[in-house]
Symmetry: D2
């Protein structure tokens, strides 16, 4: 089918900040660098601050601007609602959109509580029965090296998994004079490092291993309990965690360690996952994002070693759309891959991944981490049934 005759997917996006920019670029690039069976159409961006929404619209050629997400959801010329607003708004918008028959792409974390995530998942399942789909934006899955890791793990190249060590290390709160912001307040952000960045490594580990985390033992800490208030002066209380560390087990028997922190001085966005199995090991660090390290344990001892695979070959996941070997990708490319995958799934009437149910699974792990940390680090199993948790 010639490109000009292809069906389109009409997009309405809520939010215009960091994620709004990344999603805009993802949608736009999807038709420039790939060949999706449905073409995205950037219909409207919605934000309470319409000046900012309008500025984003100008930069990325969104046709319209809306100021109330309800109006966006009500529009008949929109097929998908792309939710890039803060976490405390996710549940309401997503459920309304799904009930209105719109597909939903919702940024992570799915919600600020398990209860909200459950309600969203129920809405998604109701909608799914009508062919309306919901997907959560764990975008790091679509970094080529991470996608390759998941592929190789599924192909058995790691064998039975024994160990996982996962870290998400940032350092932007190291300085005690960094002012208070909404991200450091529980009522807005839900949690701190745990929900913001810990969620990513929980999803990445479950995705790459193909296993689920069955229980955790956790410790959370707020190192700097009061910070300067930007407006008005004085000190305000930090009500979320600065760091969360936890031990876990995977469904296949592996032992895992997790660490999410904003106090790892000198580490800027170090998402690191290493997996050791009977057949091999895999290691990844987002600070060198085009590389996947692989150790083949079936090789002779004399030959074995961690191999630095530059994940830029045309045969690597998502690379067919980009540049020749050795010409690396950057952070935002994964948003293009997310758009392409979503367009492809919807074109074929498939449920895109990760589903809201997967997002709920991550939420349950985060909840168990908080429960364990509040209860003397006691081992806390992850419940998989949906029975009015909390």
């Amino acid at each position: 089918m010639a490109a000009r005759d292809r069906p389109v997917l009409r997009i309405g996006m809520v939010g215009y900040a960091f994620m709004g920019v990344a999603h805009s670029q993802g949608w736009r690039n999807s038709r420039s660098f790939f060949d999706p069976p449905i073409l995205p159409e950037l219909v409207a961006v919605c934000g309470r601050d319409t000046a900012k929404a309008r500025e984003l619209a100008r930069r990325f050629d969104w046709r319209d601007v809306e100021s109330d997400w309800r109006d966006l959801v009500a529009r008949e010329d929109i097929d998908v609602i792309d939710i890039c607003s803060p976490g405390d708004t996710h549940a309401e918008i997503a459920i309304a959109a799904l009930d209105a028959g719109k597909h939903v792409l919702c940024e992570k974390p799915l919600a600020n509580s398990v209860a909200e995530a459950e309600a969203m998942t129920e809405a998604a399942e109701r909608a799914g029965a009508r062919g309306v789909h919901a997907v959560v934006g764990f975008t790091y899955r679509r970094v080529p090296a991470v996608a390759l890791a998941a592929k190789w793990t599924r192909e058995g190249r790691v064998g039975q998994i024994r160990h996982v060590r996962a870290q998400y290390l940032q350092d932007w709160l190291t300085d005690a004079d960094t002012p208070l912001s909404w991200r450091l307040q529980r009522e807005r952000a839900g949690s701190g490092a745990l929900g913001d960045i810990g969620a990513h490594i929980v999803d990445m580990v479950q995705h790459v291993t193909g296993e689920t985390i069955t229980g955790v033992s956790a410790l959370m800490e707020t190192f700097v309990r009061e910070r300067p208030v930007a407006v008005g002066g004085g000190l305000g209380e930090v009500t979320v965690d600065d760091a969360a560390v936890f031990l876990g087990r995977l469904s296949g028997g592996a032992v895992a360690t997790f660490e999410a922190t904003r106090f790892a001085t000198g580490r800027k966005n170090a998402i690191r996952v290493e997996i050791n199995g009977t057949a091999g090991s895999i290691a990844f660090d987002f600070e060198d994002m085009n590389v996947l390290w692989f150790h083949d344990n079936t090789a002779d001892a004399a030959d074995a070693g961690f191999r630095r695979v530059l994940v830029t070959e045309p045969v690597h996941p998502y690379l067919e759309g980009w540049w020749p070997p050795g010409h690396g990708l950057g952070y935002e490319h994964a948003f293009t891959h997310q758009a392409v995958d979503l367009l492809d799934a919807l074109a074929h009437h498939r449920q895109p991944t990760p589903s809201f149910a997967e997002g709920l699974g991550v939420q349950r792990v985060l909840h168990a981490v908080e429960s364990s940390a509040a209860d003397d680090s006691r081992w806390t199993p992850i419940l998989r049934t949906r029975t009015g948790a909390r």
Copy 2:
């Protein structure tokens, strides 16, 4: 000035392949991620294969398609001609465009010969006198880590330069069964590894050091002299170099080694430059493009060491337009930076860099390399005057 009232720069681009895509993305991103004083307008893309040109136009929203570059140059609604076609077409198009009063952005290498490059430089200087500017696309200068290296070198952090080692290593010709292509034929490509990738490291070294190469001693080699012909079968002759290595001196007295090859098995796009000076050292490898290594020789011996600077801070060159620290950039981002710099220079009626004269300087080094290699590797000074060289 509000964005909607800003002047525009109307662009006509020749070429639709690898570089056509990269330039399209660069122009488009320039107004999405940065705030240039002039906004680019993608007016027309030109290519002999109009189906391919049309496809690129569709993907990147070029308004029109032209099939003859002369028609493009003749259009009154175009301000700049962006030349992304093969090297043997550069001189004719660039000179015509400049003479027609269009600014020119010309991909590297400037030309296939010093004579052509000289003619282009003369045209550029004539045009410059009328406020019409020409710039050559040594885009790697605008990789943030490379830009930072140049900044630090100029600030004296390396001190007097003693050594440079520069390599551009690829491996796509390692296999003797890789078929013949126009890139391996002298009449089309001008030269092989030397002009295609050696040109980049010559420019990068001159740019980062702020010095010029004053002479060379060179060796060139074609390892595989016949390759399968894709169409028709049989073997065809490879008439360009597979690899070029040379020694050089810089104007400040440093000793340099250069290597450009398509036979460095396992190295995909390894552009490596290391500079050792009395005050410090700098090292870069494009396979880890967001990193600049710096050794501060003024530190105590106990403390000193090569420092891995992740060039993703807002204070680093070009980073203010992108993502938070630790969220790396990819290959094509430098094309956005090139567009932004060009828009900025033209808005302020400044000559953008690198000028055609700089491109000619690179061409002269390449020519001296070929001369030396053909003359028993004898030391060959780089002539700086323009007197009918060759």
Copy 3:
């Protein structure tokens, strides 16, 4: 004082295996590469298998061989008993030697239980009052890069510590067909990965930070519960841990993660410690043992980065005895440094470090790890008082 007139320290060593070789080399090198105020004299090596003891004596010029450690301790021509035999023998030998007025160097772990370690510490303190000293062999402290890390931390270059992540990763048990050995049996080895290698990172963290671990939450696992019996055939039970992971807190408030395993496929002897503080970060990996990574958080953001300090300068700890810069050391050099430090402390009538009390402190952490792992990972404080704990 001329070397030939220097006093000597007459050494009797128990054990002839891996550690016996390493200690022999350490003693011998101490007077070849350094200039200790007391010279070591290799008087007698003791082992039940006298053929093996004799072979070691031949290779390293030990003058005599003994078959019973009691005879060794009884000799009047011996000043120090160097205990390199398995952990279940440490307490008896060390206490007897100290009571007999011999200095003691005891390999780690100090003992197989807290009670034994307490008795040893009491014996050491009794002996210390008489000028007879005991020291435990946490040799990795004397790897130059680790010693430098400890120095810099004490000098405040890391500031207030927020995070520690410590791993000791080996993989020699990955294969389920690796046969059972005494190291995998609780009655002989005390514990598995925890005591054998976990002890090292517990000591290293406490030593480098200058803080103590105040509590832990732990998980232990035996992945392969039965292994082939080398002699006689069939399967035998593995009664120790294959892996131990735990969370901890340091006395200064930092949050720490620890992992000790023999199942980290592809990691051979990866002792890794990273420390993040308000002023900087330090990172070490024994697989690249001559390197210390340091991030100076007081530098400008544009300049900051982890610095690869090659710890081979004459000004670095222990390096004055060895080679020019860049000529790295190997594993066993730390045993030479241990010998030198011990000779120096005894010459100056100082208590050498680490004392048995420090060894006991490590033992208490290991004990708490086991307790927590056996009690649902519950948070377990480290007791510092000596009250017949077990």
Copy 4:
């Protein structure tokens, strides 16, 4: 044969400085860590400064001290003369020793001129006919990772070699105030960086590839031409090269670049060799000496990558004598391997390697480098015949 009944090799060593220490340790360790068929006996060390020679003898248990090498050579109780004195003494001592029927181990470079090296080679060949052997100390060949590289290259794992890039980078002369020493004076040292460190990479490349260098084009430089004189004050002339860079060809057709310098700020002892071939690539850096990087070009593109082989497995060259996997070796271990190999060759009446003829081959390359540098970098073939060169 029981060790106590083994024949011995009685050693007389000339020199007591850096190399004297390294050789002493090598001889001593050879019988402690390996099981050579002949045992070394440290009979006498010889030096004009007998106090220093005596001090070395004390530290390493050399039995006697001599002050005149002629006396050493005349002793009947010595089987091998180990020459660790400066290069300008090599020829005279080695020839006398060989003529006196002593085996000779001579430190590199073999001599200060091709003529001397030729005379030595002739003496060695005369002696060889009588079963008396000479060997030159290119010790880096015996670093396990380098030995593994040579093994793999010979086994065809690199295939046909296309590229070699070899560097020996130091920085101890970067500071212009570093005083003049004999190493910077031509009459004593022969040459500067070229002979001192360039010799090592020439030998390493020829050894690892199994090919010879057939010609060179070179540039040499003395950056700092006058330096402070330590005694007496004032400035003295530097009469050797600070740096030597050259292009070369190998006998199999590969193109090579070489760089030897003492001005590579921040590089302490970076001996780097990378070899790219049709089947694979190998890379080594002495600053991480226990690692060999290998790229297998026969693997699928999706899987391929440079593999970090930690060369510490018992199956790796020389590792059977040392520690468990992951317990790295240091600089001086290669001297032990040299001793072991020499003991083994002599026990089996084999010519040890590298022979003086190989040392002469290196000398000829160095000579050609100097000739080319003095003649406008002109291509200079390496002559292999011995006909009164110079």
